[in-house]
Amino acid sequence: MTNQMNASRKASGPKLDATPAKPTVKAAAKKSTRVRAVKRTPAEVTRLTEFYRQMLLIRRFEERAARSYTQALIGGYCHLNLGEEAAVVGLLSALAPTDYLFTNYREHGYAINRGIDPNRVMAELYGRIDGVSKGWGGSMHMFDLTHRLLGGYGIVGGQIPLATGAALAIDYRGGSDVVMCTMGDGTTNVGAFHESLNIAALWNLPIVYVIINNRLGMGTTVEKSSAEPELFRRGAAYRIESARVDGLDPLAVAEASAQAVAVARSGKPYLLEVVSERLRGHSVVDPAKYRSETEVAQLREHDPVVTFGAQLVRDGVIDANGMAAIEHEVTARVDEAAAFAEASPTPDVATLFDYNYATPVANDSRRLPGQPLFEPAPRPDLGEDQ
């Protein structure tokens, strides 16, 4: 195993992150609590404060979503970004508004951070007409062309070929936009991941593949599901430059993301592994009994939102009043989103067939379950009674 690892590092081809990987959360979290230079320019203060505000917004939004779910205001599956806030904010900070984002089904935070009105994200969770996908998608399928969120996708890995094709379209037209495509750690074992990375490398496509490695695919660990658990190394098979970054540190993620996006903008794919955390179960209904109490306690210690907030206070970037003001503002914003969602109407059943096809087509079926295909047409030469 060790020999194989050494061999892969020595191999020629793409440049890999030379620093030793940090497979444990403990190691990753240590880095994020490191005290930084206290002297900040006003622009830096604004940026750091905004990072924190965005992270807290995702946190409070997701907590609210969990509550609404238990109140049966939200249906279906509901996967939360709790623990992933630093990763979301850091990753998307490197994208231009015209760049494209494809995600998996754990995407509420990405939608909000991309600039979509939280009211509309919450309304989608509630299945209402004002939702980002007009109530057709739900938690797993958020889409907004204006903000170039080209979809959350519910099938593990389904978004990867699509994102690759979006990058192909950009390249085809000679544009300078890039595509970012996020996925979970378990996704790196589906065929679509490997087929797509191969195609992106062959065709020099402008795309950043992001693995959010929270160490668990539902309840299965990375070590149990991936023969190469240092997932970023999988880029080497396709000569795709890759790196791993501490996903609990928003600034480290932002820096790594900027580098990845720069490579993509130069016309080459990039693979970025973000070592993250999942503070709760796979979805709202999962009690995560496969995790020990010690592990859960550790998770809380490494909470990225709490850690980053404390760091900003310690560094004098935000004072206690400032923190309270952000908390107040974010909580109010989430309350507003929930109130908006609840007040938004459900879609009219008469619109059920509105999105059958983009190009109307002859003989399209618009039959409700209880309706016959045809109105009864008795044969005229037979009596009604026959």
Partner: protein
């Protein structure tokens, strides 16, 4: 009007659409340097270059998905999947993504995609290379499935499919590539969702599509000569949407129907057509709707076994005879003549 092969009609239409719209591009295995496994794309790489005629690795899920993603950004990719059997490797992208994206996101993203792929058995290709599984796609709302049987329809339906803003599975057939027919010189796309009555008649409706539309026509000709029967033939042309009104209108006139299909019987296209007739023209039927379909086995390699498993002209003639015999109409007819 020009007489040409089905293959030539496809080739010429692809070329014309690429000249008309620079968003149209082709991708698939062996379509460029090799010029296509069935030579539909011959010469197109030389004319349009690698950007628009893209050889892909053997990765159906990857390149079909990439085509869907490119279509979401407004390109008009035409994917060639070497045979419909291999489309199973792209099933998730076709069914869970191409078919869903328009509706699932509330109409915000269109997927103007064409997947061209041939079906067809009877060429000793064995069990995995001889399937007719267009039914899998015809089952799925959000997809359109067309199946031209003539060079003229190949042109008109391919034009329609490429210009359509929805994902279209365009079913070709190995046995049809070399067939010839008249093709109009004008550029009028066909209307997707419409069947064609290719031969009007009064005694029985014979329904087929793709290769089986030819078998149906052949049977109608033969029975006109041998029995004096006047059989109406419907070429479905579109499997989703299915043109139910044309089927019903015909059966109301003929009072009897036989469906011929190149797929397996159980749950097949014929079952859907028969159910449609039962729903819309029950009172008009003088006999149960018969289906002539493949034997329900993985298609064997050995020729006699393969031939026995595939529906033949004689099988269809027998089914027509039995259907008309059931109500004594063939006898009557022959008697009159």
């Amino acid at each position: 009007m020009t007489t040409m092969t089905y293959r030539q009609a496809l080739h010429d239409t692809l070329r014309a659409e690429m000249l008309r719209d620079e968003n149209v591009f082709l991708l698939g295995e062996e379509i460029g340097v090799f010029e296509g496994s069935y030579k539909i794309t011959a010469g197109l790489l030389a004319e349009f270059g690698e950007k628009r005629v893209r050889d892909t690795p053997i990765a159906e899920e990857g390149f079909t998905g990439a085509a869907i993603g490119a279509a979401m950004l407004g390109l008009r990719p035409v994917v060639e999947i070497m045979t419909i059997n291999f489309s199973l490797l792209a099933l998730d992208q076709i069914v869970n993504h191409a078919a869903k994206i328009y509706g699932m996101f509330g109409g915000q993203a269109k997927v103007p995609l064409v997947i061209r792929t041939p079906g067809g058995g009877g060429q000793q290709l064995g069990a995995t290379h001889s399937q007719n599984i267009e039914l899998y796609y015809a089952f799925v709302p959000g997809l359109k499935v067309v199946a031209p049987s003539t060079p003229a329809d190949a042109k008109a339906l391919l034009m329609a499919a490429i210009r359509d803003d929805d994902p279209v599975l365009f079913l070709e057939n190995l046995a049809l590539y070399n067939t010839k027919g008249d093709v109009p010189d004008d550029d009028t796309p066909a209307e997707i969702g419409k069947a064609a009555v290719t031969r009007p008649g009064r005694d029985l409706t014979l329904i087929g599509y793709s290769r089986m539309a030819h078998i149906a026509a052949q049977v109608a000709d033969q029975l006109a000569a041998s029995d004096g029967l006047d059989i109406e033939v419907i070429d479905l042309r579109s499997l989703r949407p299915l043109d139910r009104p044309t089927i019903i209108e015909s059966v109301m006139k003929t009072h009897a129907a036989v469906v011929v299909e190149d797929d397996w019987l159980t749950y097949g296209i014929g079952a859907e057509v028969a159910a449609t007739i039962s729903d819309g023209a029950f009172d008009y039927l003088d006999a149960p709707v018969r289906r002539v379909a493949m034997a329900e086995v993985p298609l064997p390699y050995s020729k006699p076994l393969e031939t026995a498993a595939l529906p033949s002209v004689d099988d269809v003639i027998n089914a027509v005879h039995q259907t008309l015999d059931a109500v004594g109409r063939r006898h009557q007819k022959v008697g009159h003549d």
